[in-house]
Amino acid sequence: MTERTVAVDFITRVEGEGALKVRLDGRTVRDVELRIFEPPRFFEAFLRGRDATEAPDITARICGICPVAYQMSSCQAIERALGITVDGALRDLRRVLYCGEWIESHALHAYLLHAPDFLGYPDAISLAKDHPDVVRQGLALKKAGNEVMTVLGGREIHPINVRVGGFYRLPSHEEIEGMVATVKAALPLAEATVRFVAGLTFPDVEEPYEFVSLRHPEEYPMMDGKLVSSAGLSIEQDEFEDHFEEIHAPYSNALQSVRKGAGAYLVGPLARYSLNADRLTPRAAAAAKAAGLGKVERNPYRSIIVRAVELVYACEEALRLLERYRAPPQASLDLPSSFAGGTGRAITEAPRGILFHRYRLARDRRIEEARIVPPTSQNQKRIEDDVRHVVERSLDLDDAGLAHVCEKAIRNHDPCISCATHFLRLDIERR
């Protein structure tokens, strides 16, 4: 048996940085370790003692790409603890804001981070040199999402306009009209995105994922619904911790999530789509069909098609909600004047999968304990399995080639490693 070690610094084109180590013994894959160096529970620690109403603004800083997801999960968890429900026009506006984040995040990933893998370019810059129109289209879509986030979120990054109970400021009539125009213009670009990515060439691979996502009685899931899985799980959001646990891998600072008694699972676009394809809006459903997606999609590479379909969905849904919008009487619900203390939990669908928050609040509304389970740490173990499988299929590649296919396998899941980690380095060790 020969022993070989390959080291590749940095997995590029994922949000944030982390490290992957692959150990090969001849033609046997011994270990795959996705190491995540999380600022360990940094935010959970400094949320303690803060007023509950500060949680949305504090947790929004965890991720530059999905701040809205952090705001929505934290607001809803705290609102549940306080016993209030944001509905009607305020809920619609929150959903539009979330659509903006999906549009921005999916456009960034599909065009600038993921598409180069399929077109044979090392990065978006070289892609832009040969296909400037493709990249321009991606940036135009991303900008549309950004505009929605800026109007409803209050500024371009780290939105500050969301509060427990609703918003600080409601959009003006002109701002609503502006968003309608922006999203109307973005919708055909999103449809063009589906056509573009459906024409790419994909490895013929299926993974036996257990998919986990929210499921709502009517809507494609974003902020509400039960938590369901392709293995038949169907639970309330409050029961998340009864069925899922985090285990500590010695090589990683992040905790790895497993479903109790079952193991690794996958969250994100493939899971959402495969468990909710029947909830898509008409144009999104038509785009999915034309792109050749079935009811369930298990090919991780084809997640780029699902993201594109979700781009269409997010545009269509935002338009539907904006067109029926009538300004509510107040921007935010009044918080209860007396509170006995309590715990609230919530799950929302970040672009890359479910994000769980739990807060235990004292009588004076101070946070006694916070728990945040980001989507990337939930996918970490399943991504390791994907990498193991791609290595097994690619043993004849040289080290550089092997490193490249591992990177691609990781990138399929759009890991937001900046939420969960930093410094992605790649080591391949062959024995």
Binding site: G64, I65, P67, L112, A124, I125, A128, K142, I157, H158
Partner: protein, 160 residues
């Protein structure tokens, strides 16, 4: 709505929760109240392709970022024109995202979306581990960078 590009923009890049990597936003924060009202100050972009929108149509864009070139922490460098291309190609800035400032500049060049003039201020970072404080040497570099940018823009912005 997002105002379309101001004639002059100053933008910080970096992650404030990664110690010295947060120096770009700190420099731009230190410029609060020291620039003409026509200068648009953006303390932080989360993801560098946002730079393309921020500087599109601008007569001058000043970008402040952390660098790791091996120089002493706090060392300040100012790059303009061809220097940006040459130096930015040689040195990767400390970005927590897949696309770096270098990538955004190259992307802007490929797509014809660069400002008329682009100036990049880089301050050498020391510690970039988790944390919300910057080291004393970098603190001095931040003050120096803010002074130099304020002085430079005094001559550049209308109404200054």
């Amino acid at each position: 709505m997002v105002p379309s590009a101001a004639p002059v923009v100053v933008v910080g890049v970096g992650e404030p929760f990664r110690s010295d990597d947060g120096l770009g936003p700190r420099v731009v924060a230190a410029l609060r109240g020291r620039l003409a009202p026509t200068v648009r100050r953006v303390e932080r972009v989360g993801e560098p392709t946002a730079l393309l929108d921020l500087w599109d149509g601008a007569s001058l864009a000043v970008v402040v970022d952390a660098m790791r070139s091996g120089a002493a922490p706090g060392t300040l460098r100012r790059l303009e024109g061809d220097e940006v291309a040459a130096a930015a190609l040689a040195e990767r800035t400390t970005s927590t995202h897949g696309l770096s400032v270098r990538d955004a500049i190259e992307l802007g060049r490929s797509l014809g979306r660069l400002p008329a003039r682009l100036v990049v201020y880089l301050v050498e970072a020391g510690e970039v581990g988790p944390g919300s404080e910057v080291s004393p040497a970098v603190e001095r570099g931040i003050a120096q960078a803010a002074d130099r940018i304020a002085a430079e823009l005094r001559g550049a912005a209308p109404g200054a």
